[in-house]
Symmetry: C2
Subunit: 123 residues, 2 copies
Amino acid sequence: MHAQSSASVLPVSSLSRLFKALADETRLRIVALLAHGELCVCHVQSGLAVSQPTASRALALLRAAGVVEDRRAGTWVYYRLAAQAEPARRRHLQALVRGFAGDAALGREVAALVAQKGPRACK
Amino acid sequence: MHAQSSASVLPVSSLSRLFKALADETRLRIVALLAHGELCVCHVQSGLAVSQPTASRALALLRAAGVVEDRRAGTWVYYRLAAQAEPARRRHLQALVRGFAGDAALGREVAALVAQKGPRACK
DNA sequence: CGCACATATGTAGATATATGCATATGTGGT
DNA sequence: ACCACATATGCATATATCTACATATGTGCG
């Protein structure tokens, strides 16, 4: 008989779901933005120059995949990167964030987004 | 005017392609196996209990994505993890390999596969 | 050359994924 | 209650992805 599937106890399916969530360019760029701080949908929308439904759906999918969490603040819904319980997932997301967070230009872009939209910018 | 896309110079599209390659469970399990050493298609096929075309295609896609390299040895074609030039990609693949390589049961499974199939097992 | 074996590829069909457009929901303020 | 704004969702459509089955290619051997 042969060894058969398994790949042991490793969280293959959990990692697979994570990678699937990160595989889309729009969603990966959202993670890049969120590496610099929480944002609401309108920030993502204008930061990535995508339609509002696209931004909303991408964030919803990331939330379903456990990559982000959301928080409601009046009319706005803020999204932030979620803490990862699974060690392997945590390693990968941290690696991503480290890379993205080191990008100063991205940081300025995020700061500009927050400054020109959302609650802080409006009143 | 608004900030617009970009996400700066970060290799978003390159990372996106990497994650797309790793998003499939079959392919991710192949990477897990290869973390323990090079294998040929028949090893993967019986190790994951998938059909020969499925194993071959999965490996071909991983090769196209730059995740693995291949080497022909007579009738057999050996696949191994490829070195990554891009730092971000290298970090992620190394993180994966570290996790998978630490799994002793997986290591034994791979050893068994190599022992019972392929050139070394046949003659 | 012809056979046996390992691997690759063509094709088709089922299923998932992404996006645009319209519209619904939710919230705060007048 | 109504309106304005931010966000979410329904629906249709285009496109990508995966798998199965059959078949082709390549390599070694007698």
